[in-house]
Assembly symmetry: C5
Homo-oligomer: 306 residues x 5
């Protein structure tokens, strides 16, 4: 039985025969909260091996199965990663809720050397067929949009179509919205982030992952998020987790993003997987508690320290 | 019962079985006047959040639902915005007459840094399917053409096909015609605007939105519009609303555009939505009165001051 | 009953079931002469409003309907213009013989600033469907090829396919053949024009519109055309009408092009439409008389002075 | 009845039901010799009118029908020219064995100014349909590959597909293999030519037309061909005929190419068509005698002097 | 009967009806070892004729049939080469296990002059049809990905789709993973190689061929491979064979790559084919013994010296 207010998240391009699928998908994935805890695991392409191997990273993180072990043991909304990586492990991780990231690029070419283009690898139909033939629990699709460069037009087109095609099939669509290129002076500018969030709304996304806004001293101030979360309208804003930081600070910030800034979730990778399995699972559970179970920071910390 | 002279607006590529749909659509949308009041709401991509948040803009304009509230409460021809934004709100705004803007780009890259390309996001068939599955009142499609740059050929091709495909399905097609790039010295040159309007006619558009022509001192002179409105032939010229200005001056100018310049409507965004809801609705109603109800400036001002 | 020698103009890629259509089409369009009088009306895109509005141009030429009025009242082979413009007027001009110009570009970017690309807007199939659903008398399709630039490969491919697809459907194909770009020193070089005409033959065109050749003093000499008209083989060479000139000189030159130079027609726009309706019709009739009715200059001048 | 050793030339991608067609096609075209005499007639695009009109060229060569007259009267393997040119004459030249050259470019842009791209105009399926609807004797398809430039990837892809699709339909595939661009210092380097011939083998071509190798003094030495003819494996190497030269020297060189260098034929254009019809036919017959009838130079000269 | 642990290599995008085909294919190709001995024969395009003709290369290597003779006589996992080359010889080499390399480029343009793009020539469906119509023993497909350049997005997309489409048809997919371009300072950097191997995992590849890692003195150290072989997860890492070297050193290194570095095979070309047939076959057999038969270096050397 779908809660009545979940229907507010139902886009008009979901056809009647798919409404139930979409709504059940949405309710289950957000735990009925309307908020999404996205466990981001697409960095093996985006950052090559930098996030998985190095002095402060536990050895087990270098094995891609680490991500699947976390995704299986922890409470998460979705585990977002590439189609191919899912295909290599998912027979042993059937119950993980997946979101297929449809594009990715490496970090070999710096953003200031060339405008980035991360092209779509698969169509939504490929994902649907994969889901149906494998029996996997694939909930949605994701796509990164780089605004401001010479490939913006290709990416806007791909994004708009992906969102719509996902809706046609009852799936969720999440967009990563990142202005880049020589005319973007400050990626953490609250007004720019609000612009990017508004574009995601015009693309029809269910959720949009954005950078966190900073004030002029470069500090995160949750109130600054409100321009973006308002401009995004019915598209939920997810804050990027970013590089690894202190657990308590992370959880406190997350709580403020939601309850002061108006965000509707988060996309976190390194702050989860750059820990040994058991710690990583607890961290994911704590993030989930705040995001989708309406818990406070104190309760989340208790999960962490169990 | 379609008025006889409305048939003059029926293009030959509307097939026989769609003639009635097209004509009813046209008559209803223009209130039988042959003129279009287009409420432009595509700026969340085109201008990011600049038009929706700032010192002189009411806070409610930052929420995209503001646009839908206006479109629902006011008299308008069509509300033009992106497919995705429509999909997020239209279940609660079923009676709004929509026009789906099929392309959009952000303003991050300046026009003088790179020739603009705003690629088509959706096909007319996607819009038709959306209309039919959702039951929304979608009347037409829109597309921006940037003339004069390295992507002109792609945009002319997309525009020509969109107009034709809209006609095949009985829908209206509106083109935004903007010469851009290093060889365009003055966007408000009456002769250049007439050229752009003529291109729209060769593309078969029902309406073409253009810049307003200025004289050599940079002042709007309605007589200067006549070159363009004649060159456009049976394609109706819509004048761009531009940035927010004094209400009375705006309405007076609109009246002159139509009755002296020969325009057949207008496309107005900021001059409507950058006001609190009630004022915005009155402004839209006043614009509609002049455009589609043959009212004078005085009557329009009465609506505004009700 | 098709005249026997008209069969010489039947290309081998017209399938058997379309031979009759093609031949009747060809015979009717050339008045059985094998020569084509093409009334060129694609300049509203190619030259923006320059050819239609200005000090020496009658006011009525600014209204696109002027072209249709001429095409209806005059004797012509075909009226060549864009699909969209035809769609806006053709319900009132059903009997005009049309040729749909499938590509066009504006003149905003100079040829020496960027190699031109005028992309195909519609497929031959779109034209066939339009013809059949509207009942219009569409005889063929046209396409401009710019040789010598970075887009030559795209344009050669589009041209070759358009010609073949037109033949598959029994329609005529006319190519505008224009070498352009930094390596083209003299567009009026007879040898270069012969090369362009030969390319049109290799593309299978029924007719090819080319520049007129000049001698080293820049004067037109009809004998210089023979290299091109021979090199074009069975593809008929049409000489470009160019900018408006004295009527008698124009008609004399046309007669020499055909009877000395071996051309098989002409493509004329400005020399017709930049006149008031009645004069324009007479000029078109005079051109037609020389081109398709085997009349001499004197007889043509009589038509003009009637 | 196909000779047994002809089966060695049967590629594995010819499907069983097409084996007989391919083998008969191959045997007939090579006169059972496994060697191909290709009459090259694609220069009207490749060289514009330079090869057909000028001080040392007979006037009749300017008429494209000259090529067809030669092809009809002479012994040849195939007459290679563009689809469109075939379409204009072939109704009167039904018995000529044709090879459709699927791409071509003009020589307006020098190779050192811009990397060449000669895009495919037609698909093999278009050729098959043309062959079947017209009843013409079309034996195969041809395509030029420019190695070493920015479009190499597009051309390799098109070439590979064309060869395979020709085989699927029982047709021969000939590739023109020309390294070009700033990194190609010497087009006549034997090692480079061997590389190009090896690429043709990897593309699956039946025959590959290459430049002739020169020694360090720029002289043709037939032994230098052996690296290429060996590297090409089962793909037959055709030497380019090049610009017109003394008949006896030409025929002697051709004989050495085959019997010392190991080539399997030649592609000759100017050395044939830049002569009056009767002489051209004799020259073609002499070339054919050496290539496909195992005649010596003396016998070939007798044909020439008949 | 498939061994149980072979099922670990079964990707989730192999549909149920293809599981048996895939697993049998995998088991047979790896001799049940999970390791692949890939005989690389794609250099005729990649290096033109450099690897096949020269002072230290036996004359027979210039004939492409040399590769097929080796592939037939030796123990190998797969012989990887281009579709077209297979088509020219495979009727006489029906029992060779083939892997079709789907893209290739020449070495004419240096990597530092232009970012490389090696475009896909054929679709997996073309390969399947070829396999089925010819009865050849085609086991899989291969594709080279150049990371770090302006065409990375096209290549990632093609690679992702090829891997998935191969799995849909029960075939193996091998990726060559090579970071290139101005931002790649050291191709033998272990961390970079691990990144590339991780990308292959995200693309879903069964095997990924990479450069061998060097330490800071430029020496191969097998322990350095472990970062990459771990990061690749269930995707098997194949080390590139590289240029020809001493047999014993080669075999020792191969053994260390597998047993210390964790690689799952190798891709070797020049170290095999740049030898007379008999020696080449022994070398291939020795490599196969270590890779797929769990033999030690001593046993492999015995094969070599038989």
């Amino acid at each position: 039985m779908i809660k009545e207010d979940i229907r507010n998240f139902l886009p008009a391009d979901v056809p009647e025969e798919m409404e139930k699928s979409f709504l059940e998908n949405f309710e289950k994935t957000t735990n009925g909260s309307g908020r999404l805890m996205l466990f981001a695991g697409d960095q093996k392409v985006e950052h090559l091996n930098n996030d998985f191997y190095g002095p402060d990273i536990p050895g087990e993180d270098n094995d891609p199965e680490h991500l699947f072990r976390i995704a299986k043991a922890a409470k998460i909304g979705v585990f977002a990663t590439q189609f191919g990586l899912i295909s290599r492990y998912a027979r042993d991780y059937k119950d993980v809720p997946y979101l297929v990231k449809l594009n990715s690029k490496t970090n070999l070419v710096p953003y200031d050397a060339k405008d980035p283009y991360s092209q779509q690898w698969f169509d939504v139909e490929d994902v649907v067929r994969f889901r149906d033939s494998s029996g996997l629990d694939i909930r949605g699709v994701g796509y990164t949009v780089y605004l401001g460069g010479e490939h913006e037009h290709s990416m806007l087109r791909e994004a708009a179509r992906i969102v719509h095609e996902a809706h046609l099939r009852g799936m969720l669509a999440v967009l990563w919205m990142y202005p880049k290129g020589p005319f973007v002076k400050n990626q953490h500018d609250p007004h720019l982030i609000a612009g990017a969030a508004g574009v995601a709304a015009c693309l029809g996304a269910d959720f949009a992952k954005v950078k966190v806004p900073y004030d002029q001293e470069g500090a995160f101030v949750p109130e600054l998020l409100r321009e973006a979360t308002t401009a995004a309208g019915r598209t939920g804003v997810l804050c990027e987790g970013g590089s690894k930081m202190d657990e308590e600070a992370f959880l406190r910030e997350l709580h403020e993003q939601i309850h002061i800034g108006g965000s509707r979730g988060n996309g976190t990778g390194r702050n989860i997987h750059q820990r040994p399995l058991e710690e990583a699972v607890k961290m994911a559970d704590a993030i989930y508690a705040i995001t989708c179970e309406n818990k406070g920071v104190k309760e989340a910390l208790e999960i962490l320290n169990k």
